[in-house]
């Protein structure tokens, strides 16, 4: 298999632009918004300008290399300056640049105009997942790398990524948007700088802790569009993809109602009494999705960077102290108080105390977590235009 790929690689190299082996692309995608198509147009325009200048310059150079060589007996000329040609090859590029700047300015102005948006989605970057909040609807969730990709991407996992559908470009819960609707995005981050990029939308925008950025889009074709974080944000920077599903407006409305229903179910889960077994079972899943990437799937941690869970003094010590650390975070440990709902929080807390080689024997109920979470002051974002 490997030698075959190696061979294919060599053949591709030899042909330079070999025939398509897989579904890779060579050029920028046109995308599904008016802005992304404008950007694509600009890209092609400047690419062709460069090609023509290249043909001119390299043409002259290679003509000269071929004909003006000593081995052909060519005698060197004696010129070494000419104000006239210097002026010509200063003015012509200037004119070309001005001609390029005009359409670029037009597109830039259009991209910047977020006015008359019909809805707003707030995007928060976390190490290493995205939080989406549909302002004014109560829809709010986290989106992280799907389980199949996450398993396959572990060091020497033994799983061939080619067998994983949409490897590294699939999430557990995609962002859903209506088509033909001007959507304003607000971007911020909880820990370090991230950058939210879906190539089909035509742009990326940095998410910066403590600051709000904005951008807009209006998708005109229903479909699934994938992207990734594009600002180095720590060890799992390569593993926080973005999936956007654009659907017809009525379907979207239906989806929103569904999500609101789910929120009610979740709220109920937070109030009912859970058995320890249910908490541990649920907690194992939550651990795999939220904790395993640093503390390792078996809880052994990473010496010097990420403490082990197994036999940890904090995890096996006082329950309140452990819950407090998870709620508020410490150093590189994110504050999960805002990230996990009460049921998941209680579940994972119970799981780590009674799994991964630990056996403290106690449990915490979602209702207790809910009370603790309520005490955390919520961060209020100013959502005015700048």
């Amino acid at each position: 298999m490997k030698t075959k790929q190696l061979f294919a690689g060599l053949v591709l190299t030899a042909l330079s632009l070999g025939t398509a082996q897989a579904d890779y692309t060579l050029n920028l995608m046109e995308g599904v918004t008016s802005i992304s198509r404008d950007i694509y147009g600009l890209h092609m325009l400047v690419l062709w300008v460069c090609v023509f200048i290249g043909i001119g310059v390299f043409g002259a150079m290679f003509y000269s290399i071929y004909f003006h060589r000593k081995s052909r007996g060519y005698k060197a000329a004696n010129f070494h300056e000419s104000a006239k040609v210097e002026i010509i090859w200063t003015i012509i590029p200037t004119v070309i640049l001005v001609l390029l700047a005009i359409p670029a300015t037009r597109v830039m102005i259009e991209m910047d105009d977020v006015s008359e948006s019909e809805m707003t989605i707030k995007v928060t970057g976390w190490q290493w997942k995205w939080e989406y909040e549909y302002l004014g609807t109560g829809v709010h969730f986290f989106s992280s790398l799907d389980e199949a990709s996450n398993k396959a991407r572990q060091l020497n996992s033994g799983i061939d990524p080619r067998t994983v559908p949409n490897y590294l470009l699939e999430v557990d819960k995609p962002l859903v948007v209506p088509i033909n609707t001007k959507i304003r995005f607000l971007f911020t981050a909880a820990d370090v700088i991230h950058s939210w990029w879906v190539p089909d939308l035509g742009w990326k925008k940095d998410t910066i802790p403590g600051f709000i950025n904005e951008a807009w889009t209006s998708v005109d074709t229903a479909g699934t569009y994938r992207g990734q974080c594009t600002e180095l944000c720590g060890k799992d920077h390569g593993f926080m993809p973005i999936v956007v599903i654009a659907m017809e407006k009525p379907d979207y409305e239906k989806w929103v109602v569904e999500q609101q229903g789910l929120a009610v179910v979740k709220a109920d889960a937070a109030t009912k009494e859970w058995s320890s077994e249910d908490l541990i079972a649920q907690g194992e899943k939550v651990y795999a999705n939220n904790c395993a990437s640093c503390h390792m799937p078996d809880g052994s941690g990473l010496a010097g960077t990420f403490p082990a869970i197994t036999a940890s003094a904090v995890v096996t010590g006082d329950l309140n102290a452990q819950v407090d650390l998870m709620l508020n975070g410490k150093g590189m440990m994110p504050a999960f108080g805002q990230m996990l709902d009460p049921a998941d929080f209680a579940a994972v807390s119970t799981f780590i105390r009674n799994g991964l080689g630990n056996s403290v024997g106690d449990a915490i109920q979602p209702s207790e977590v809910k009370a603790l979470q309520a005490a955390i002051p919520e961060i209020v974002y100013d959502d005015d235009d700048e």
Binding site: Y24, M111, K235, G238
Partner: protein, 537 residues
């Protein structure tokens, strides 16, 4: 031969050769010795940084994680960049400056020889301290060479060491720059007016001013990181009233001129080599000088084009777009001038010329992608993708590194008195020139297709071109071992053929160093030369 006679007339007890034994290399204040030290150190670091690059390319050969953890991968991208920029490319050009500037302007040595020794050893200390972070708890810095907060503040024990090594490297560079400026302004031969200096001297003069302006800025930025981490300041922490983007502005105010620090001396060497092998004077000497100065000036006012996506106001985006586009004009002038220098010359294609022509062609490609990403709206797609990686590697590897190789082949016969093996040199060139394109050209496709940079693993549609790129990387990396072999062989006697003083046909009409004997004596131009080459004015 006036220089040699002058040396014999020299005061007896002052006219000695190098110190005997190993100590020579520690205590030397001779510009040629220090130049050699810089060049060998740079070459060693080129292989250290190159090994890191090959670790990166090995991991990216296939999708999935095979060799390293993501954290170590990030350390590798960070350290590769820092080592290559501060340990390899910059010191290599300082090495050439040390060797050549005094000989090119007819001076006996650098103006401040003891400081010269100190700046070299401080560089070694700085790079060693940086390298030591690889063995620290929590690993080497893994936040990218830009060291952006808040991420960089998550670095383990390595952070203060990385910051102090930046301080050391900065002091070393500033001392080197002061020395170069002092030498050029005070020690030129009487007839060597500024506008008769070889282009390499001119580009280094301008580069030295850039260094003095920017290194303190970088030192300041990393010091603010240090106090943010250890002394509870909040320069870059919004929770305390600071701004993470402020760091980016400060960093790129340093960082953009910094990339020109690596490219301006490249222009200088190319402008020196091409006329010799075209047997024709450099076309548009004075416009080359003005273009260099213009590029240096522009480098200070375009920094935020590295930050188009941080959420600048529209007016900021437009200003930095227009300013950045302007760089194309002086850069274009340079490329046109090199082409015009070749035009109707009588060219031969020895290894230095081959590397120089490859530089002009491939640097132009890097310039084209530079123009593309100057257009702010499209940069919202290109930013932080492999398209950017391809762009800046085209402007650094087949540009700066190729020209460093060209310079090595060009002056080695002069320095050692021995000719290098031309056949091996040409083989080295063709292997490098072909593999560097296999390595970097596919990265354009990857970036356009949507692959972000600095990721240790990727979606499967990026597999093919990553594999091609990795194959190119390994061919390129191992080809460079040839260079070491050729250099060592040349020092040890080369082809056995003794070179003339001029080495290259007509070279003495271009620059002063070719009027000296080959190999060059330990001390040269104890008295300034009477006449200077007049090929350009």
């Amino acid at each position: 031969m006036s220089a040699v006679t002058a040396e014999h007339d020299h005061d007896e007890h002052h006219d000695h050769g190098p110190e005997k034994g190993f100590l020579r290399w520690i205590v030397t204040t001779n510009h040629k010795d220090i130049g050699t030290l810089y060049l060998f150190f740079a070459l060693a670091m080129f292989f250290v940084g190159g090994t890191m690059a090959l670790i990166i390319r090995a991991e990216l050969f296939e999708p999935g994680m095979q060799f390293v953890t993501p954290q170590f991968f990030n350390s590798m991208t960070t350290m590769h960049a820092l080592v290559m920029v501060f340990g390899a490319v910059m010191p290599a050009f300082v090495g050439f400056a040390n060797w050549l500037i005094p000989m090119m302007i007819g001076a006996p040595d650098m103006a401040l020889p003891r400081m010269n020794n100190m700046s070299f050893w401080m560089l070694v200390a700085g790079v060693m301290m940086l390298a030591s972070t690889l063995f620290m708890e929590g690993g080497a810095p893994a936040s990218g060479w830009t060291l952006y907060p808040p991420l960089v503040l998550q670095t383990g024990a390595a952070l203060p060491f990385a910051i102090f090594s930046v301080h050391l490297l900065g002091i070393s560079s500033i001392m080197g720059a002061i020395n170069i400026i002092a030498t050029i302004f005070n020690m030129r031969a009487p007839k060597m007016t500024l506008m008769k200096m070889p282009l390499f001297v001119w580009t280094w003069l301008i580069t030295a001013f850039l260094l003095i302006a920017i290194m303190p800025v970088f030192a300041g930025a990393v010091t603010m990181l240090l106090t943010d981490r250890f002394f509870d300041t909040s320069f870059f922490d919004a929770a305390g009233g600071g701004d993470p983007v402020l760091y980016q502005h400060i960093f790129w105010f340093f960082g953009h001129p910094e990339v020109y620090v690596m490219i301006l001396p490249t222009f200088g060497i190319a402008s020196t080599i091409i006329p010799v092998f075209a047997r024709k004077a450099l076309f548009g000497y004075s416009s080359m000088v003005y273009a260099t100065a213009a590029i240096a000036f522009l480098s200070f006012i375009v920094w935020a084009h590295h930050m188009f996506t941080v959420g600048m106001p529209l007016s900021g985006e437009l200003y930095f777009m227009y300013a950045t586009m302007l760089i194309a004009i002086p850069t274009g002038v340079k490329i046109f001038n090199w082409t015009a220098t070749m035009w109707r010359g009588s060219m031969t294609f020895e290894t230095p010329m081959l590397f120089s022509i490859a530089f002009v062609v491939l640097f132009t490609l890097g310039g084209f992608t530079g123009l593309m990403m100057a257009l702010a709206p499209i940069d919202f797609q290109y930013h932080d993708t492999y398209f950017i990686v391809a762009h800046f590697h085209y402007t650094l590897v087949p540009a700066s590194v190729f020209i460093l190789m060209a310079g090595g082949y060009f002056w080695l016969p002069k320095w050692t008195g021995n000719m290098y093996d031309e056949r091996l040199g040409q083989l080295h060139f063709w292997l490098s020139a072909v593999s560097v394109n296999i390595l970097f050209f596919p990265q354009h496709f990857l970036g356009l297709a949507g692959m972000p940079r600095r990721i240790p693993d990727y979606a499967v549609q990026f597999s093919d071109w990553n594999m091609v790129s990795s194959i190119g990387a390994f061919i390129f990396g191992f080809s460079q071992l040839m260079f070491v072999y050729i250099v060592v062989k040349t020092i040890k006697g080369g082809t056995g053929e003794k070179v003339t003083d001029e080495v290259w046909e007509g070279a003495a009409q271009h620059s002063l160093e070719w009027t000296l004997p080959s190999p060059v004596p330990y001390h040269t131009f104890a008295t300034p030369p009477e006449n200077i080459p007049t090929e350009h004015y």
